[in-house]
Point group: C4
Chain length 232, copies 4
C-alpha cells in the first residue's frame, strides 16, 4: 500500500488517472496558498485558505516522509536522511510560517512554497522542447557561469569607480552597486544617476561596454541552442 | 457571377488587375477608418470618414457572406457557419461601434478593424522572406510558448517577492506586477521602483537574472532562423 | 591631367601617397567643418573654420564636376547628369548654408556634410570584415525591411490602443507614438507613461511582446552573419 | 632559489600547493586592498588594511623585479626592461597612492589595483570555456571594432543633430553626447530628454535604428561563438 502511495505522490512519465490528479491537485493547492500573499488584508477568507492549504501540505509532507525509502532507496536509513534533503527542508520551511500566523516577519518564507512549483517542471521533463532548453542550459552552464562572474565583476568595478568619482551622489557603496546593476542591465529607472561630468563620462563608457557584456549570454545561449537542435 | 465576386474579394497568388485593386482599396479603407481614432475631436469630417468606411465594410461583409460557400466549401451549410468564423465575427465587431456613433465606450472596438489589416499579410504569404519568418515562428512555437510561460512565471515570482518585502511602495499586487514587467523588459520608466535596501537587492537580482530570460527568445528565434535559411 | 585629378579625388583600392593624402585631408576638413556645430557661440574662430572648410568643399565640388565624365563614363552628357546625382546634390546642400552665414535656420543642413563621411567607408570597402557586414545587411535587406515594417506597425497599433484607452495622459496621437517608440525600444525615459490600470495593462502586454519584436532583427542579423562567415 | 621564487609568483598550468597558495593569497590581498575604496570613512581599520596590503604589494613587486630575467628571458637586460612593462607600471601605480595617504585626489589610482585581478584570469586560461570565449573575442576583434566605431559614429551624429535641433534642452554638446549614449544603449534614465516635437521625432528615429546597432555586436559574438564550438 505504501508503494502505491509513493507512485501517486511522485510524478513520473506515464501516469495513471489518480497519479495525474494528485499532481494537479497539489499544483492547485500551491497556487491557492499563494493567493493570501498577493493581498495585504488578513481577512477571514485568507486565513481559511492558509489553514486548508497548510493542512494539505502537512499531509503531503507526512506521506512523502512515510514513503522516503522508495524515494531514496537506502533502506531504513532513508527515514533519517529524508528530512535533510533539499526538497524536504524547503517543504518544512513552507509549512512553518503558516503555523505561527501572528508572526508577520516570517511571511516571506511562504514564498519558498513556490520552490514546490518547480515540481511542475517535472511534468515537462518529458517534453521535447523543455529537454532541448535544459540541455542547452546544462551544457553551456560553465560558459554562462563565467559570463555571469564577468558581468558581476564589471558591475563591481563600475560601482567602485563611480563611488570614488562622485561620492556626493552615492551615499553608500551599496547605492553605487545598485546604480551599476540598474544601468548595465539597461533598466535605468532614473532614481539614481551621475550628475558630475566625470560621473557622466563613466556612465557613458560603462553603458557602452555593457552592450557587449549583455550580448555574451545571448550569444552563448543561441549558439548552444543552435547546436542542440542540429543534433536532434 | 458569385464566383467572380469571390475571386475578387479573396486574395490569392496570381491576381488580376481588378482583384489587386479590390485588395488595395480595402486596405486604404481600413487605414482611412483608423484616422478618426488618432484624434480626440468628433468634427464633421471624422464622422463622414467613419460613415463612408462603415458602409464599405458592410458591403464587404455582405459580399463575403454571399460567397461563403466558395470560401468554406461545405455547400449550403456554409452560410450558417460563416458568421461564426473568427474573421467574420471580427468583421462584425468592427462595424458595430460605428453603427452607434453616440456610444463612446465601444470606440475601442474599432481597433479590432486592425485585425483586418492582418489580411494584408496574405499578400506577403507568397514572399520568400515572410515565409521564412512565419516558418521560424511556427516551428519554434512550442519553445517560444515555454519561454513565454517561464518569463511570465519569473515576473509573477518577482512581483510576489517585492510585494511582500516592500508593501509600502506597492499599494496593490497589480502595482508589483507592473513594476516587475517594466523592470524585466528593461523599460524602466522610473515611475515605480523599490526604495528599501531589501527591495533594491531584489531589484538587482531579478534584473540581473532577467538578462538571461530576455536572451532565451532571441536565442530560439535566431537558432530557428539559422536552421530555416540553411534548409532553403 | 584631368585623369590624374580624378584618380586623386576618387578613393580606390591601391592608392598612391598623394591619393591617400587627399582622402585624409578631406576627412579632416569634414571633421573640422563640424566643429562649429558642436558649439552655440558664433565667435570669430568658428566663422573662420566655416569659411576655410567651405572654400575647400567648393574646390572639391568643382574638381568633381570637372572630372564627372571619368566618374559616370557617359561622355559629355556626364557634366549635365553629375549635378543631379545623389552625392553631388548632398555636396551642394552642405555648401549652401555656409554661403549664407546669417541664416540660422539652415544651419542644420550642414549636418548633411556628414553624409560625406560615408565616403570614408569606401576605404573600408576593401576590408574583409566590412565586406562581411555589408554582405549580411544586403542579403538580409528584405527580411530586415519586413521586420522593420512589422515593428513600426506594432508601435502604431500600441499607440492607437493607448491613445484611445487613456486620452488624458496622451494629449495628441503623436505623444502616443512617442510613448510607444520609447517603450518598445526599452529606452523608457519616464517622461510619459500610462497612469490608469487599463493603460498599465496595455503597457505590460506591449512591453512583453516587444521583446520578441526586438529579438527578430537580432536573429536575422546573427543568422545572416553566421551564414556569411561559413561561406568564406 | 630565485627560480623557485619565480615559479611560485608566476601562475602556470599544473601548480603545486605553495604556488596555488601564493596566487590565492595575492587575490585575497587585492580584494582586501579594495575594501577601503568601498567606504567614505578614513577610520583606523581602513588605514591598517591599506598599510598591510601596500606592504604585501611592495614585496610582490620586489620579488617580481628580482626574478624578471626568468619572466622576460632576455638575460641581464630584463632587469632594465621589466619596470617599463605594462603590468609592472600598473603595479607601481597601484602602490604609489597608498604611500601618500593624505592625498585624496590620487585615491582613484588604487582602482588600478583591479588590473591585477586580471591575473586571476590566467588561472582560467586553461579552462576550455574561457578559451572559447577569448578565441571568439580575438577572432571577431576586427568586426567588433568596426561595429564599435559604427556605434560611436551613430551616437556622435545623433548628438550633433539633437544639439542643433533643440539647443534649449542641451546646454553643451557634451550633454547631447550623454543623451545619445544613454538613449541608444536603451538605459534611458530620464534625466535628460528632448521636449520639442522635432527633438522627439529625432529621438524616435535614433532609438528605432539603435536596435539594429545593438543587434550587430550580439550577432557577431553569437556567430563567432557558434563557429568556435563547432570547430572543437
Amino acid at each position: 500500500m505504501r508503494k502505491t502511495l509513493f507512485q501517486i505522490i511522485e510524478p513520473h512519465q506515464q501516469e495513471s488517472f489518480i497519479e495525474e490528479a494528485y499532481d494537479i491537485f497539489m499544483i492547485l493547492a500551491i497556487i491557492v496558498s499563494l493567493i493570501p500573499l498577493t493581498s495585504k488584508s488578513h481577512s477571514g477568507i485568507f486565513i481559511w485558505l492558509d489553514l486548508i492549504t497548510t493542512i494539505i501540505f502537512i499531509i503531503d509532507y507526512v506521506l512523502r516522509f512515510v514513503t522516503a525509502d522508495y524515494k531514496l532507496q537506502k533502506g531504513r536509513i532513508s527515514f533519517l536522511l529524508y528530512p535533510f534533503t533539499f526538497l524536504a527542508m524547503a517543504d518544512l520551511l513552507c509549512i512553518l510560517p503558516s503555523l505561527f500566523l501572528l508572526n508577520d516577519s516570517l511571511r516571506l518564507f511562504k514564498i519558498l512554497r513556490m520552490l514546490r512549483t518547480l515540481r511542475i517542471f517535472k511534468f515537462f521533463r518529458y517534453s521535447k522542447n523543455i529537454q532541448i532548453l535544459t540541455n542547452v542550459l546544462k551544457k553551456q552552464k560553465d560558459s554562462l557561469i563565467i559570463v555571469g562572474v564577468l558581468a558581476l565583476g564589471y558591475i563591481f568595478v563600475s560601482a567602485l569607480v563611480i563611488f570614488n568619482v562622485e561620492p556626493s551622489t552615492f551615499p553608500t557603496f551599496f547605492d553605487a552597486l545598485y546604480w551599476a546593476t540598474i544601468s548595465l542591465t539597461t533598466v535605468g529607472y532614473g532614481d539614481i544617476y551621475a550628475i558630475s561630468t566625470t560621473g557622466k563620462i563613466i556612465t557613458m563608457i560603462s553603458s557602452f561596454l555593457g552592450i557587449a557584456i549583455v550580448a555574451l549570454p545571448a550569444g552563448i545561449i543561441t549558439a548552444g541552442y543552435m547546436k542542440e537542435i542540429k543534433e536532434l
